[in-house]
């Protein structure tokens, strides 16, 4: 049983998706610039990275009960959400500034050292942004499906794989300025990471199911044969992971593009499922029965009483 609207909802899942993908894109951009050279990714991709993080943050703000006071999130240094907010802000800034180096119209576009420094900053902040939702969720002691370090790996992995796919798609639309050799290998990287993803998710569910506490086992049941199971198994594992894995291995650019698009859909779906999977607290015995008998969700009753 879920407590609709009283827990994090779909907007947060979409935030996690965009921010993670954007973070992943920055990681890739930073790494390539530092170790391969500039211009290996599409300028569009370079811009989209920070933009996606921005979209994610905006959705996060919309999800707030008091969106106009969003700036307050920067206040508590001990809170992981505060750290996340700062890192997202930095990542957006660094990412956008880095992207300007791809445009000759700016006089600083030839400052190599500055670009390398920014690439490093993009890598660092992007990596944090790509990983942080997983850390955030994994620290939730009372949410058995999330709790533990495993979720962190899954989020980082998904951020990277969606990052690669997004860069690929950006490259199809707007090819990179210099060389396409590296970008051409992205579908292979994607396929490799998807293979990891498939394996790790099987492992994650198995470990959770047989895992430490009864509540973990109960929470995981939703993924095996409960309300999340078909979205998870057919939507995410089959169409969001296995299918794009196969498509990415093909040599046809259009099939690869379809594969990349599926990766993105799969990534978004995974965030939705994970956020919903966290609706389950460690319920106390009898608590779900109690809550299921409250009028919440009984629209006819609520309408009659609030007329």
């Amino acid at each position: 049983m879920s407590q609709k609207h009283d827990v994090w909802g779909w907007m947060l899942a979409v935030d996690f998706f965009f921010a993670g993908m954007g973070g992943g894109m920055l990681v890739i951009v930073g790494l390539l610039d530092l170790f391969v050279g500039e211009g290996r990714t599409s300028l569009l991709g370079n811009v989209l990275g920070p933009v996606f993080i921005g979209i994610g943050s905006s959705l996060l703000i919309l999800e707030l009960g008091r969106p106009f006071q969003a700036l307050r999130v920067f206040v508590n240094p001990k809170a992981i959400l505060t750290a996340g907010a700062w890192f997202m802000s930095f990542a957006i800034t660094f990412g956008l500034v880095y992207a300007t180096f791809g445009l000759d119209m700016f006089f600083w576009s030839s400052w190599v050292f500055a670009r390398k420094v920014l690439a490093a900053l993009c890598f660092i902040t992007g990596l944090v942004v790509a990983t942080y939702p997983g850390i955030l969720l994994g620290r939730h002691k009372g949410r058995p499906f999330w709790h533990g370090p495993g979720i962190m790996i899954l989020f980082l992995l998904s951020s990277l794989v969606t990052g690669f796919a997004a860069h690929s798609l950006a490259g199809f639309v707007f090819p990179p300025s210099t060389l396409t050799d590296v970008l051409g290998m992205f579908p292979k990287f994607t396929a490799g990471l998807l293979a990891f993803q498939l394996l790790l998710w099987f492992g994650y569910i198995w470990v959770k199911k047989s895992g430490g506490t009864t509540s973990e086992s109960i929470a995981t049941q939703r993924w095996i044969n409960g309300d999340l199971s078909s979205s998870f198994q057919y939507g995410f594992l089959l169409f969001g992971t296995l299918a794009p894995l196969v498509l990415s291995l093909s040599s046809s650019p259009s099939l690869q593009a379809v594969g990349a698009a599926l990766v993105l859909l799969g990534g978004a779906l995974m965030r939705m499922l994970v956020v919903r999977g966290g609706e389950d607290r460690t319920w106390f015995p009898g608590e779900q029965k109690y809550r299921s008998r409250l009028p919440k969700g009984n629209e006819a009753f609520l309408k009659a009483w609030n007329k």
Binding site: H5, D6, V7, W8, L60, E63, L64, G65, R66, P67, Q69, A70, R72, V73, F74, V75, N76, K78, A79, I80, L81, T82, A85, R139, H140, K141, G142, R143, G278, R281, T282, F284, P285, G286, E287, K289, Y290, R291, L294, P295, K296
Partner: protein, 186 residues
């Protein structure tokens, strides 16, 4: 300095829900908000060999409170006497605390756009009165007091018996203690 705590004697609680109503009425909560549900464990077993226990839930005012840690705005705070509360004007309802609390003690107020929670009726406590849920309990199943005062009833109950902390394994160090019959598994 005081350290406020509550003891729930589940052997006395009959599950009448008076505390829930008293809290909702006196704290003027919207009807979709409950700070202190009383859930019923069981009857477990098979008729006629059954058992039933009532479990009054509430904010545990943890010493190691995950909700305060999770709050990005500093709205969630803990007083030196242990009472965890939300400073409403700072809250932006990001629900980080809702998700962080293992006890379901944090409740969104959709009318105000903030998160609220039991604060042990701290205004009353500061005036030397008991929280509403304690005052209204016919069964005296809820005992409130100062854990730093060795003469207090809560101190004696906690130190002389075998009270249970809910989800104690999470190291949240709750300051709500449960007295439970030994056969009951929570």
């Amino acid at each position: 300095m005081a350290r406020y705590a509550m003891v729930m004697d589940t052997r006395r609680c009959v599950g009448c829900h008076s505390c829930t109503v008293a809290c909702r009425v006196h704290n003027e909560l919207p009807l979709d908000m409950i700070y202190n549900p009383v859930v019923t464990v069981g009857p477990t077993g098979v008729f006629p060999n059954v058992r039933m226990t009532n479990l009054p839930l509430i904010c545990m005012h943890c010493d190691n409170s995950p909700c305060v840690d999770a709050c990005p705005t500093g709205a969630s705070q803990q007083r030196p006497d242990g009472i965890v509360f939300v400073e409403e004007k700072k809250c932006i309802s990001c629900k980080a605390c809702v998700m962080a609390c293992p006890y379901g003690a944090r409740v969104p107020n959709h009318e105000k756009g903030t998160i609220q929670k039991c604060n042990f009726c701290m205004d009353r406590v500061d005036e030397g009165k008991l929280p509403h849920c304690v005052k209204t309990c016919h069964q005296k199943a809820r005992i409130f007091g100062d854990m730093d005062d060795p003469t207090s009833e809560v101190y004696k109950l906690v130190n002389n018996g075998y009270p249970v902390r809910l989800l104690g394994e999470l190291n949240t160090e709750p300051y709500v203690f449960y007295i439970v019959d030994s056969e009951v598994k929570l």
